[in-house]
Assembly symmetry: C2
Homo-oligomer: 355 residues x 2
């Protein structure tokens, strides 16, 4: 594409929602990746205006979101609630910015591409609304590995279960887990019905049940037939990104007491017979994916080890014992980095490169 060059000869970037959990990680990522940007403008709600945040080693003042915020902006990355994105992304696009949106507002819009640069970079070129959508963090925590295997083997069916970190629910999720951990530390809780719930009281934050010493089989809001919105996102987005609109996908999403890094178990069935040797080779060589799989030596990814890193980590690679076309995998990725900010930054770079 041809983005306007900013006054430094480089494109101008706006970060909308700069003060949130993902926004904070975005500023770290922008500070560490190869710097292609001219001005980086930080935008947030009026409540956060005036705060100064560090990006590229400089303190930058946050300004309140307004129509004028997008004057001269080439790329605008949004990490805000759906309804804020619905209102403001078209405003930014009308001003000529390419919007990279991390909300759920536009992901399934047929006129908005849903992009994972390692999987479907070409999709970013066709953006009639001027908006490119960033997938949900749970989808992103598995899709790079799954996409690489699909490219070789041809995916026919996916059964996935998630182990989702609390930071997927934002700063409030992290704060809630930390407060609950403090309440259960040094106790004998977790041994009688409801004892954790009584100790936690109303302090469940964004979650329907306590998450400390617990797992909660729910994320998002209620959809038809008992499915959660998070489960539907994983299904719909996987189909769209892989270009497989009829792919059978069955997902159950479960919240676990982990701060950051989502994990998933995958049962992936392919068009023909697969081998573990070939699957390992694909995973070991695919961009953005790391094979970490030697259980005899204690090697398999866990959230505590992959948090803060960029790739999707893959371990426990096995062929189903009763189906030579299916693989079992355990994948793990930082839901704030590749699961949100990093993928958005990669999309923005792709847009600027005109790829």
């Amino acid at each position: 594409m041809a983005v306007d060059a900013g006054r430094t000869g480089r494109p101008t970037l706006a970060v909308v929602g700069a003060t949130g959990a993902v926004g904070t990680v975005m500023l770290q990522i922008l500070s560490h990746r190869a710097d292609i940007w001219g001005e980086i403008r930080l935008l947030a709600s009026p409540r956060s205006a005036g705060r100064k945040l560090a990006v590229r080693g400089e303190q930058v003042e946050v300004t309140a979101l307004s129509e004028e915020s997008f004057d001269g902006v080439d790329v605008a990355m949004f990490d805000v609630p759906d309804e804020v994105a619905e209102r403001w992304a078209p405003v930014a696009a009308a001003k000529g910015a390419v919007v990279v949106d991390n909300s759920g507002a536009f992901r399934m819009d047929p006129e908005v591409p849903l992009v994972v640069p390692e999987v479907n970079p070409h999709a970013a070129r066709n953006r009639p609304r001027g908006i490119v959508a960033n997938p949900n963090c749970t989808t992103l925590s598995m899709i790079v590995a799954l996409g690489a295997l699909h490219a070789e083997f041809g995916l026919r069916e996916l059964v996935a279960s998630s182990y989702q970190a609390v930071s997927g629910a934002g700063r409030a999720g992290v704060e809630t887990l930390r407060q609950q951990i403090a309440l259960v530390a040094g106790t004998e809780l977790g041994t009688t019905p409801g004892d954790v719930r009584r100790a936690v009281g109303d302090n469940t934050g964004p979650f329907p049940e306590p998450v400390a010493l617990n797992v909660v089989p729910w994320a998002g809001s209620l959809r038809a037939d008992g499915w959660s919105s998070e489960e539907m996102k994983v299904r719909d987005e996987t189909r769209k990104i892989l270009g497989l609109p009829k792919l059978p996908v069955a997902v159950t999403c479960v919240r676990v007491p982990v701060v950051t890094a989502h994990s998933l178990t995958l049962h992936a069935r392919f068009e023909g017979e697969v081998t573990v040797a070939k699957a390992r080779e694909i995973i070991a060589t695919a961009p953005g994916v790391v094979l970490f799989d030697d259980p005899g030596a204690g090697e398999f990814p866990t959230p505590a080890d992959v948090v803060g890193t960029d790739p999707t980590w893959v371990g426990r690679v096995r062929r189903a014992l009763d189906d030579p076309t299916a693989l079992e995998l355990f994948v793990c990725g930082d839901n704030l980095r590749k699961g949100a900010a990093l993928n958005a930054a990669q999309i923005a770079e792709l847009v600027v490169a005109g790829a």
Copy 2:
């Protein structure tokens, strides 16, 4: 069967491994269920001999395991490591006791029935070695619900992922999690690679990685082709209990920072079309199973709520969106109760009843 009546006119029960995590729960269960036993004899290693434990409101002294321990015993429940069971279960059986063994030593022996009283009670009658095996806790945490659905619909395939509590690894597992929780409480840990691991140091107890603020995709020991022993147990035992020796089963077992109560996600494919209405009816009426499934009202089982209870709790009942023969479920059960001690107590009662 005809068990010898004890001196009170009732059968004598020996509890071998009375001081362990499961043994402790066993004594609680024996104290609360209808009391069919004469003498209850508590046996353990010489190290624990002389301790007094409460059962049925009385203090009973633990004696050291020896050949004479089984004189006059009608039923001997074992909860000890595999190698101890291998050595002592045949001794007890040779003395005329029916052994109910909770180790993995005999479960796949074709001459040893593997029994879940709600699912295959008839199997307990045929025990040529005088031993009845109690399934693994992970199998038991799902099999009552799965068995009920199988009886109606005919199971054709199972994909399962576990969320296993630390007490599945015994007292050391619980102690390890509690110590780790104390180390991470009040910190910002869980946000940089390896920070939890460094804080925990060598204090990982029976687990290969930290479990606090983490999930660990490993349980048991290494088997062929990268499978864990726990995963193989779930597959082999499910097939044996349901009488489906060729059932395709794909399992990934994951440890989570929960004290007690295992959870699993199940993708279960049946012989023909299923309906959620019929599945809910089966689950709601099957013995030993509770339907707890109204996500709009915040109702789904979690470990913190089902710990300390007897049934298998089932929620998140959905039909696969792309396969009218498959159901998605989230099941949750106390791994020390139905997952171990309760099922063994039920088997012992079945044996005494001669059913």
